[in-house]
Symmetry: C2
């Protein structure tokens, strides 16, 4: 039997080149949406409802849920939580459901719903994601959330790191996956320094979130595996 395939898609805007049906999509927004989601589950959040629009998020907040809304790196006024993983390290989110909308990450989830399964990946839970993919034995796509539809470096580096972990179990027919792997291999000893050159980190640097950047590049801090089911993410690990 031939191995399943792994593909990398550099941005939701390039998803039209990929067939989603029958596949697992790993959604990645390293700085910082998927890193936040993983951190939230590690701190006992019951479920996360990712929504594309701020208005939807506000409506969910009005029903009594906690809500987090970020645009262009900033927390929007009137919401409970921001887009820093550190804001999810607190007791009072345990057992709660959080509605979340972000500039890139939640858009990527919204655009992947034709897939068989959607899982949330970050460096913080990379080994849990890798094990899940290997055990699933299904074709998969690592979907980089990018920045407003554009390619970005940090999500691609994660894609390369994930490809490195699973490549013995998957076919890699596509140059995007090969390039992500090459990029990661040439950068992994100095990820923090290299991502500092990226457009998004330069953008975020103005927001003084250096601690977030460093944290989001930590491997295997948590063993959670957020999976999207019936409109919400739950931790299946």
């Amino acid at each position: 039997m031939s191995s399943p395939h792994i593909e990398v898609c550099f941005s939701p805007d390039f998803l039209f080149q990929h067939q989603l049906k029958g596949k697992i999509v790993v959604v990645v927004d390293i700085f910082r949406a998927t890193s936040c989601m993983v951190t939230a589950f590690a701190h006992g959040v019951e479920s996360i409802i990712p929504v594309a629009e701020v208005e939807q998020c506000k409506s969910l907040q009005a029903t009594g849920l906690l809500a987090a809304a970020e645009r262009d790196g900033l927390k929007l006024e009137g919401f409970d939580l921001d887009n820093s993983p550190f804001s999810y390290m607190q007791q009072n989110i345990r057992g709660k459901t959080i509605a979340v909308t972000t500039t890139n990450g939640t858009q990527a989830i919204a655009q992947s719903t034709a897939a068989d399964e959607i899982v949330v990946g970050s460096f913080l839970n990379i080994s849990s994601v890798a094990s899940y993919l290997i055990e699933s034995k299904k074709d998969c796509i690592v979907l980089c959330a990018g920045w407003k539809g554009h390619y970005n470096l940090e999500d691609t580096l994660f894609a390369g790191a994930l490809v490195e972990k699973v490549k013995g179990h998957f076919e890699m027919e596509q140059d995007a996956a090969l390039s992500a792997l090459m990029l990661y291999k040439s950068s992994k000893s100095e990820l923090l320094a290299i991502t500092k050159e990226s457009a998004h980190v330069k953008r975020l640097a103005k927001l003084n979130i250096h601690k977030d950047i460093e944290f989001c590049l930590t491997n295997d801090k948590y063993q959670v595996l957020p999976v999207y089911t019936n409109g919400r993410l739950v931790n299946v690990n």
Copy 2:
């Protein structure tokens, strides 16, 4: 005065993310369309008419021009020249005009006509292209022809090599350019071995064109600079 910008676009299918007006587009199809064009000019071809469709190419042949048509790596029946640079190293093309259509390269030119200028790049003439961009002091986009709209490794490696040559003179705001540069820097000592892993080279390997691959990765073999004017490419160097 701030420096002009250099962007990298991984495929003509992603051009919708770029503004072409006011910019120079460097079209790149390393294996093998743009490498062939550069080789043809180095051997005295007067002009090249790149066309997107096979039928257009056949019509131009009927008017007495030489014609080259390639699809999926193979020369189409009834045409004079194929898509190997070696087929352009001959005396009887001197002074001639050649109509050309290829799977990727000529499509990329056809999609770039909104730009201020289109130039043809390959490793074979990389320093001529770099000098032209530096002297022009205009914003530019390196457009990788890719493979049927998909990202490919070899065109991206060329983009990185070109960025390396010009980067002191351009701003690089975009992670695609940064990543192409990183990929090239980590690969340049073993380009041939690395491109052998690429999907396109694996595809071409079946056609037994190893000699072409090696040739197309040679730096600065020729000092020609093909520029697109009034529907045709001419050498302005």
